[in-house]
């Protein structure tokens, strides 16, 4: 099965059609995506700034890491699921969009950066847990992480400005907020 057929079958999903037809579902997914991604970047930044010795410096790194990891993974799951749901509504367009591809490559790089941190500085965490900043490898990983996530946010916004959202062929009468209120 080639990629074009795969993308077309994703777009043909009933779920994708449902999202396209609704006036409300796509904006709702976008809002949850923003909520998720701001929590991912914001919480990761708290740890990165600790590693760099910029914020939370008097607090042991392990305590900061526990707080951050608890929320970042759930937030990342929310962002990934909502992102996938938006993707299927217009899979071929997103797949061929250069900013989408750059964003996916940067997400992969961010994942590899986490692996690099886990395999280097993280292993000796007990030795520098209370130091004002992480060893060189940890600070390098923190810098790369901050730059990558900021770039990922920019790419995400550029995807929105270089693709046109597909909406249903039939206009959705939807629910007007005023219909819910007493006349």
């Amino acid at each position: 099965m080639n990629i074009d057929a795969t993308l077309a079958s994703l777009e043909g999903l009933r779920l994708a059609e449902y999202i396209r037809q609704s006036l409300y579902v796509f904006p709702f997914l976008e809002s949850l995506h923003v909520l998720g991604l701001t929590m991912v970047f914001g919480s990761i930044a708290v740890l990165d700034l600790r590693l760099l010795g910029i914020a939370s410096v008097r607090r042991p790194v392990a305590g900061v890491a526990i707080d951050v990891e608890k929320w970042a993974w759930w937030a990342f799951a929310l962002t990934a699921v909502t992102g996938a749901l938006m993707f299927v509504t217009n899979a071929a367009v997103y797949y061929h969009n250069v900013y989408f591809r750059l964003k996916m490559a940067m997400l992969l790089a961010a994942g590899l950066n986490v692996a690099f941190f886990e395999l280097t500085s993280r292993r000796s965490l007990q030795q520098w847990n209370r130091d004002a900043k992480a060893p060189m490898a940890g600070r390098a990983a923190a810098t790369v992480s901050l730059l990558l996530w900021i770039a990922i946010i920019f790419m995400g916004r550029w995807i929105g400005f270089t693709t046109t959202r597909v909406t249903g062929s039939k206009p959705d009468p939807g629910v007007n907020i005023e219909d819910l209120l007493p006349k």
């Binding site: 006036l23 904006p27 809002s31 991604l37 929590m39 607090r59 305590g63 400005f161």
Partner: protein, 156 residues
């Protein structure tokens, strides 16, 4: 308001922003980066009250760590938000979501300060929900037709 938006749209600054395709996405991206800092700072203050994070830190230490970052990010958000209003006056100023969002930002900021100082748990849930509402309203500015006649935007 429609007249004011029209006047603003005719200013040199607005015309410049509108005539360069990269400016609005750049401002929006910076705005989202700042939202991340603001939201997580407010959440860390709130989560500490609820005992979800930072239990090795006192409430005072938590406020000292996150309140200045919340305040600083709000300054960036106001500046980038103002630039978006200048660049696209009608889209923002005529949107019901925009004005509701502005009101909630003031309330959420005040509430966050209050719960950070008072550590009242019930109020913290409200505060976190208001911040989530602000995120939704920010995105919904692009879809103001959902508000029907509450929106001042010209009907499509």
């Amino acid at each position: 308001m429609t007249e004011f938006a029209g006047w603003l749209a005719a200013t040199q600054a607005s015309v410049w922003i509108a005539s360069h395709d990269w400016v609005i996405p750049t401002i929006q991206s910076i705005h989202i980066v700042a939202i991340s800092v603001a939201l997580v700072s407010a959440f860390m203050i709130g989560f500490r009250v609820l005992g979800w994070t930072g239990s090795d830190q006192t409430p005072v230490e938590t406020m000292d760590r996150f309140w200045p970052w919340l305040a600083a990010s709000l300054v960036v958000l106001l500046a980038t938000g103002a630039l978006m209003v200048v660049g696209e006056p009608a889209r923002e100023l005529l949107a019901f979501s925009f004005w509701l969002k502005m009101g909630l930002v003031v309330i959420a900021t005040g509430l966050t300060w209050w719960v950070g100082k008072s550590q009242i748990k019930a109020l913290t849930f409200v505060t976190l929900l208001v911040w989530v509402g602000i995120i939704f309203l920010g995105r919904l500015i692009a879809y103001d037709h959902i508000w029907g006649s509450w929106s001042m935007s010209p009907k499509a």
